[in-house]
């Protein structure tokens, strides 16, 4: 695995401050998350060799792409990167197909056209082969840019807000396409996004950036359940993310039975094969806490756990309660009043009530 790992270390005080270091393994998706102007695009440009910070080490597996200490520097076209540019940077004189074909230089000449059309179909632009960028809508342009980046079959994929201009339905489908591609290609993927759904659906790791400095980074599950990251909460909405296995599909009741470290979960049905490992996300504000197991409700899931942490932030009137359910952290966002009424404190046993429809089941597989 580590033979194609991307490792990056960038440091400079000015003009664009940078101070960070990360690695990304093949098959992993590192989401870079940070306010506007914090340096996300600059990081991607540094990896691609389009920007040269004062101190930079960029390695793709055994290949040194940049090393300011030794003076090593591979020019951008010798780095096997696919880049979705934030502002697309399409070639204005080429059709959508021409744009994609430009990145297919590694394929035999005869195959390029067919492959370009395949990729355009993948991004739902099968009808727009011959249009030039200026004859496309904003979202269509962005999808051409995405197809072009994928065409390269790169060793590293860098995407700068790749779905910002597309509607949610297309976005979901693209997220799924990217997710399955990432697994097939088995390459590191670095994703810059402001959208939490992108993070939840695609990211395995997260890097939180603030004015060029990595304020936190690590596997998504760890970061998402850290109650101290109020900054993250404000930006993206807090939630718990963990893996689970599909145990049964109950089409009659419209349910999907999942097993996770903390027990069983009923989610609403989706076309996923039994046995598949999926990612589960439960938004903190949709979790209800109860002192005893309730009945007569429309909800299915009552998970027994123990309060392991409480955190409140003066900027918010909510309290985040961390409940440990069989080793898995579950976050619930409740009002201060609820804390008082239910007498919630660390060590208190409680039930976490979760609607089936509140459980996001994320899987690239759709049988």
């Amino acid at each position: 695995m580590a033979d194609r790992r991307l490792s990056v270390s960038l440091r400079q005080p000015s003009p664009i401050p940078l101070d960070l270091e990360f690695t990304c393994d093949p098959g992993d998706v590192l989401a870079i998350f940070g306010p506007s102007g914090s340096g996300k695009t600059t990081i991607l440009r540094s990896i691609a060799g389009l920007y040269r910070p004062g101190h930079a080490v960029v390695m793709s597996g055994p290949d040194t792409w940049s090393n300011t200490a030794t003076g090593a520097f591979a020019p951008p076209h010798q780095r096997a990167v696919g880049v979705v540019f934030q502002e697309y940077a399409l070639f204005p004189h080429l059709s959508a197909r021409g744009n994609v074909m430009t990145a297919l230089g590694h394929r035999p000449r005869g195959d390029r056209r067919a492959r370009a059309d395949e990729l355009l179909a993948l991004v739902h632009l099968a009808d727009h082969h011959d249009r030039r960028p200026r004859e496309l809508s904003g979202g269509e342009r962005q999808r051409v840019a995405l197809a072009r980046a994928l065409a390269r079959e790169p060793a590293v994929l860098l995407m700068d807000e790749p779905f910002a201009a597309v509607d949610r339905a297309v976005r979901r489908r693209l997220q799924d396409e990217i997710d399955s591609l990432r697994r097939t290609l088995d390459i590191p993927l670095v994703l810059v996004t402001h959208d939490f759904e992108d993070v939840v659906r695609l990211a395995t790791h997260l890097l939180l950036l603030d004015r060029g400095t990595a304020v936190a980074s690590g596997p998504l599950a760890n970061l998402m359940s850290r109650p101290d990251l109020t900054w993250l909460r404000e930006a993206v909405g807090l939630g718990s993310v963990f893996d689970a296995r599909v145990v049964r599909r109950d089409s009659e009741r419209g349910l999907l039975e999942l097993a996770f470290a903390g027990g069983a979960l009923l989610a609403s049905e989706r076309a996923i094969r039994v046995g598949t490992v999926v990612r589960v996300r439960i938004p903190a504000r949709e979790v209800i806490l109860a002192a005893r197991e309730p009945s007569g409700l429309s909800l299915h899931n009552a998970l027994a756990g123990t309060v392991s942490a409480l955190s409140s932030d003066p900027a918010f009137d909510h309290v985040v309660v961390q409940l440990t359910v069989g080793g898995v952290s579950l976050l619930a966002e409740v009002t201060r009043d609820a804390i008082a009424r239910l007498d919630i404190a660390v060590g208190r046993p409680l039930y976490a009530l979760v609607k089936s429809v509140s459980i996001d089941v994320i899987s690239s597989e759709t049988t």
């Binding site: 540019f85 502002e87 204005p92």
Partner: protein, 222 residues
């Protein structure tokens, strides 16, 4: 109508473009993309052939490439032909005289390409050469077209340099411009007028065709 002179003129125009465009594209792109010491000086020097009166430029070229000069002798030793009073010599002189028309517009053409397009081309894995051929040149095309049009038209009309370096040899270095001038000197305004009109019609038609074809080919900005 001096058809031989017309043919010399057209060959000279085509030849000048054939020599100058590659060089102009190379130098124009260099000036557009690279920052280097003395760039400003190079930019200014490129316009020098324009500043000198053509006959004077022709005289200096005659001296520089002439039978007496080391350069002229070296050329003669290698090619077995001397530059002055030959079509080859005309071509060289014409290329030098037209240099300014070619470099400046091409430089602007390359300068107008946004840097993110260049970046994207590199990130598509295109080598510098492929980048140049597939992305930069098509996008700089309007500038190249202007260069070609100015150089071609100016070569047809050029007269001072050509006369000085070429020596007015029929079929070899007598261009239509010289023929028109000669007729006019001989107060044969009628022939001069016919030839001038022919030259104009040919030039206008060529330029219109070039522009149209170039636009058809869709080389201009998308």
């Amino acid at each position: 109508m001096d058809w031989t002179a017309l043919s010399v003129s057209l060959w000279l125009g085509a030849g000048t473009i054939a020599i100058l465009l590659p060089f102009g594209i190379w130098l124009g792109r260099l000036l557009a993309v690279r920052q280097f010491r003395g760039k400003l000086v190079v930019e200014a020097l490129v316009t020098v052939p324009l500043v000198l009166p053509p006959t004077v430029l022709g005289f200096y070229l005659l001296v520089t490439f002439g039978a007496r000069s080391p350069l002229g002798q070296a050329f003669h030793a290698i090619v077995g032909q001397s530059l002055p009073f030959s079509f080859t010599g005309l071509l060289v002189a014409s290329a030098i005289a037209n240099l300014p028309f070619v470099v400046q517009p091409i430089q602007r053409g390359f300068e107008a390409i946004p840097s993110d397009i260049r970046d994207a081309a590199a990130c598509c894995g295109l080598s510098p050469w492929q980048r140049f051929a597939r992305i930069e040149l098509p996008l700089a095309w309007p500038g190249v077209l202007t260069a070609a049009i100015l150089a071609f038209a100016h070569t047809l009309g050029e007269f001072g340099v050509v006369l000085m370096v070429g020596g007015n040899l029929p079929g070899e270095t007598r261009t239509l411009s010289i023929a028109i001038y000669d007729r006019m000197q001989a107060f044969d305004d009628r022939s001069a007028g016919v030839m001038a009109a022919t030259l104009l019609v040919i030039a206008v038609v060529t330029l219109m065709l070039t522009t149209t074809l170039s636009r058809r080919a869709g080389f201009a900005r998308g």
